[in-house]
Symmetry: C5
Subunit: 352 residues, 5 copies
């Protein structure tokens, strides 16, 4: 269930269904690659330091270590110790309610980002953490696995750009496919907004306002996480760091301008939705007006007529009209004239 | 049809109606010019590199290559390869949902801009891309052709300023006529808003709110694309680049201040429209008020009268008034007095 | 007539009524002055270059050339050619829909400003352009002439500050009296807003909203033109230019802080007006409430009474009450009690 | 009376009641002090220059000259001439509608500030001007005298901090007690807002909106004058000037952060008041709703009953029910059942 | 009780219940520690200077002096005199209504912060002041003691990070646990907002608006104090000061980004609450609409029927229908047809 408190710390403990067997929990997926070769393995935590030595010795090798969110804190800490990662970073990886950010620690850069996607009309967000050092990238997150699998396939293709470049380009590829997720969500939202708009324009209830509220809440989410993500990419495009090649910077710059587009679009959507609420409210007022007109027309026509009927229903002894030959007929005529005049009056006033 | 999702990627594949014959697809319009001579041709993609060599050798010649949006991706890629354009640029040209931007790649500058115009009350926007290098300009877009044709005619005039200057001035001329498009759209909008205002002030429905919503959506568009376009022109006026002469910078500065005027005007229009919605809503409330007054006046006058008639319609045996000579007359008098008092009371309260 | 489209290009061709005689059209008012002497003349366009030579030779002379908005474009162009003015400047002078701005061209500075004043409750705005060079000032605009005439009189006074200083101080004096125009307009507006407020507080219609809308539109105008004008004056107070003395800068700084006051005041006024609209809307709602109460009181009192009268108007054979001696009286009593209770109930509920 | 136009130039000529005797008008209160001695006098304008010479010769003496707002322009001008003050400063002192500001003129600094206080629920604001030079401070304003008198008493105390420091600290003390005035006004406002809130929550009218409007207007004032005053103090804390000691800067920095608190509080109050208006409007709507329910309940119960009574009041010859023994009783039963059902229905719908 | 005026100076004198015995008032809790040893004591004010000398001589010792808010002003002043603290700092400590801020005085840094927590649905805020010098930290505040006790326990653990680092890290730990308080409050609020949302969606009154108002007021508080607190931490992370180690800066940077999260969340909550008010208002309007429909349906059905009954209740001598055999039956039929048509009509119009 979606609730406001998730804006702070949606720190639900990872569901450890996938890793039910005890020993699979400390197995870690790694990819060791350079332009020529590619090694893909599931290793134990104890073997990680061997691979660290490998890349330290061989200046061509690039290492990608991937842990999903279900790993024990102890595994995260073990990994971090091997790569001499600051304790603040460990905390940030384990705590899920982080805002996207980038922290520069001389020898490595730590990045937090949020992945978003729709799952049966519910907006799901997932925290991804990245540690990029010289020739190694450690990623945390991606429970579903779709986003990273795509990049993995790219890596497997020999001669692909991603194989020729370092881990900084790998990082770009990952954040890039994460950004595409934002666009997909916005596209779905655009369609939902169009549907709501069509409904609002012909609606007779205020049901749509609840749908609008839901979308608005989702937009708040996206805005909340795309804004700092843009700061992250723009930092990556600008700042000097040991870890990043100059050629990769341009790619991050491109990413940064794509994220501005995401933010712009959320702003536009919010204005569209505010406009829809305005129209919805104005529709309610307008229909109230219509209802009142019907009531007023009915009352204004029948009240005088009923009054006349009432008058001649009185039991006075001396009411000369009652005894005339055409009294009844004339009364009917008078009533019809009054009714006709009323109808004419309202027609002129354009009430119906 | 206009829809919200176009705010992200209005990436409709170009309708290739114009180029139905297979071989016309790889023919490219070029203009090679300097102060003295002008060569205008439709060439094949394979011939482009010859022209590149020409301008590389002759320091006076300027080359304008134009492709509209219907060209194959392969043609775009071929052109880019000849001029050694970065792969990110290729992607940006092919993908239509770009935000206006400028990217500086040492030897050339890449610019994305949006052209807007009204086509039967629908706001159409079209992506234009520009690659400006030393003595060459490659343009992508302009399906309709009107905007570029005007500049083409200027170029054909011998001795014109545009012939004497380099491709940077040509670029200015193109963006300038694109900016004029923004002004034309805003002028049309201004007239539409005036029409809507006149309607709103006398309107009895809330129909105008839908029109206002449409204009508001269009304004969101214009704001969305004029803001970054101003950033582009202000960058061109400010930044140092191999490609631009100092004298051209002033022209881009002028463009930049014109675009501020565009943005100002969209802001003003949005405030005007918000004011109109306020008035429209207040009109609805006010009319509801008027309707209620009519109802209340009618009810307040006839309810007591009907009550009196009802009383003397009762069938009690002992009702002394019924048998008096002037009972009926007095009853009528009482009724008239009550009605008159009511009318007087409402007149005094200024209800009608 | 005031319309939205004037926000873009209120480019109405000057009405050439004043200059009906053909030859008066190329006559130009000039003032040549220094601390000691003052020469005031109407000359032909062909004579202008003589005067330019005069000030070029004599380092003390200051030249003020004034053209109003009715001059032919050709005259503007002739003047500009004599003083070697950039073609962009010419265009900006001729095109009336400019945003206030300042452009620095090495040897001269070009300034656009807007003059505003009330003419029978309509806000009129007029474009003024200034070209300030070393020892010459060319002004375009001021159809009515009042604003410039005042400065002209100052110039005629021997020993006045304006005579002792250069054309940069003359420029300051002109922009200063133009700024006073903004204050006058705001003062008038303040009085109008006070009047509207008094009306709104006792109003029974929503007529005031149209007046509020008019003032709001006018405020949008003033804000639109005072904001960039402040940028102009603050640029003049800050930037280094050949044309301006250091001592004049302080005066422009003062102007700049006056214009901040103008902008502040427009903001304050807009908040006041928004508050008035809120009150006006709340008044409408409140009055609707009052009307509904009257209706409800009337209905609630008479409906039960009429029902009782209706019951005893039924023609059943066996209705024992009808034949009792005091049936009628008791019925009346019951009715009075019910009515009294209703009145008491509404009094307690504070409905009236 | 409070009116909008005072936002521009509340330039009411000073009421000269206090200084009715002709010669008191050019008498000026001065204080000449240093750590050891204090001289307090009322002198004539002609004697001022003597005192100026005194402080020029004696590097320890500090001079405070005070003029209230009732002085003639000529006196202001005389003072300014003695101290060689720029003509722009003279104008700013005389013209009362100034925005708080600070102007740095090499040898002295000119400051305008606004004092505010409540006088029987009306917000009064008064312009104070300060000229601070080396060892002299000239103050203009403080009609009531309370604020300055407090500082005067401090000065009279031998050995007090204010006696040991220069006129820059005296200036700080004056602006500090002026700032306390802002806090006092805000505190009073806070209490008024609390009162209004209590009223709004139980109110049956929209009377409170007028009170809210008044407070909102007052807040606009305070915001308008505290914002630039903060700029003044922050300038004084930052800028280098001959006049100010480094140790005094810290005090102005403290003042600056106090004024941020003032601005924050006005913002908070404005949000609170907007919330109150929202609640007030929603109360009106809600009460309208309640009134309508009463009306609807009454109508829905009695209309069918009256209809039944009406049916049996018809005079058809052949109405079999009329002649039955229990017709009347059954009719009553039917009526009671209908009424009871209605009441049950509305109870279930929670209408009352 | 919560009131608006507390936004300025919630300067309630400390409740001195805890320290009822006269002599406990000048006893001060101190902790003297370094990596190896820890001394914890309650000392008299007169003994403080001894401890100051201790840390001045021993470069390893760190001293934490803690005073809660109940101490006499004289104690505060005594402490400040011993450590040569500026008089402005003393005032700021004693005056409780301070905005969070940081002031750099060469040898020490003065920090004001606000602690917030919920106490039975009321938001309590408490002012904490910190003076950090070289190897000493003086803290004022924390009446409840919970927050500081936690840190005290950390300190008692030998070998803990906090013992190994200087007082700057101790300061970080204190501000960190204070920041966690903000997160706790926001989490509670998130849950309250979820509850309110559920209520609003099904509510029939506008009671929830008062709850929303309360939360909104609390959010204003949090925003008011978290914003400047972030400025404090960001200053601590950035500025050079004698007092702070470079390694601690990173921790303050982390704190700063956590506080951005706090601010973001308050903004998100405020938007959520505004949306709830919108929905609440729209619900009221919508229900009014529903009520009106019921009224209109009832009136529209029964008014014509009652009219017909009224007509045949007239006492005219010559009313042929009255004497026909099936007149009564036909009248009933006509009535049923009219009622049926009305019901059909409203069904078609989807009124019920």
């Amino acid at each position: 269930m979606e609730n406001s408190s998730q804006f702070i710390q949606p720190n639900e403990p990872g569901t450890q269904l996938k890793n039910e067997t005890g020993d699979s929990r400390d197995k870690i997926s790694i990819m060791l690659y350079n332009t020529e070769k590619l090694e893909e393995k599931i290793i134990r935590i104890s073997e990680v330091s061997e691979y660290k030595n490998l890349i330290d010795q061989n200046e061509v090798d690039q290492l990608w270590i991937n842990l999903d969110n279900n790993y024990d804190e102890s595994v995260v800490e073990a990994i971090c110790d091997i790569f001499h990662i600051h304790s603040l970073v460990k905390e940030d990886i384990i705590q899920k309610g982080q805002r996207p950010k980038v922290d520069d620690y001389e020898n490595y850069v730590f990045i937090v980002a949020k992945m978003i996607y729709y799952k049966e009309r519910d907006l799901i967000l997932e925290q991804l953490s990245f540690i990029v050092g010289e020739r190694y990238l450690i990623t945390f997150g991606d429970e579903e696995g779709d986003v990273f699998d795509r990049i993995r396939n790219h890596l497997r293709k020999e001669g692909s750009l991603i194989r020729r470049e370092g881990v900084d380009f790998l990082l770009y590829s990952l954040i890039n496919s994460l950004t595409e997720g934002y666009f997909n969500v916005l596209e779905t939202m655009g369609e939902i907004i169009d549907l709501i708009e069509e409904k609002v324009l012909i609606s007779k209830t205020n049901e749509e306002q609840k749908e609008i509220r839901k979308i608005k809440k989702d937009l708040l989410f996206i805005h909340k996480f795309s804004w700092p993500l843009r700061e992250v990419t723009s930092w990556l495009a600008r700042e000097e760091s040991v870890v990043f090649n100059k050629s990769t910077k341009m790619f991050f710059d491109d990413l940064s301008s794509q994220l501005i587009q995401v933010i712009d679009t959320t702003d536009t959507y919010r204005e569209l939705l505010s406009g829809l609420i305005e129209i919805s409210l104005s529709n309610i007022s307008y229909r109230l007006n219509e209802v009142m007109k019907v009531l007023t027309i009915i009352s204004t026509i029948f009240m005088p007529l009923s009054f006349i009927a009432g008058v001649y229903g009185m039991n006075f002894k001396f009411m000369p009209e009652l005894n005339t030959r055409y009294g009844y007929l004339i009364t009917w005529l008078v009533m019809v004239v009054i009714a006709a005049f009323m109808v004419y009056y309202f027609k002129k006033k354009k009430w119906f």
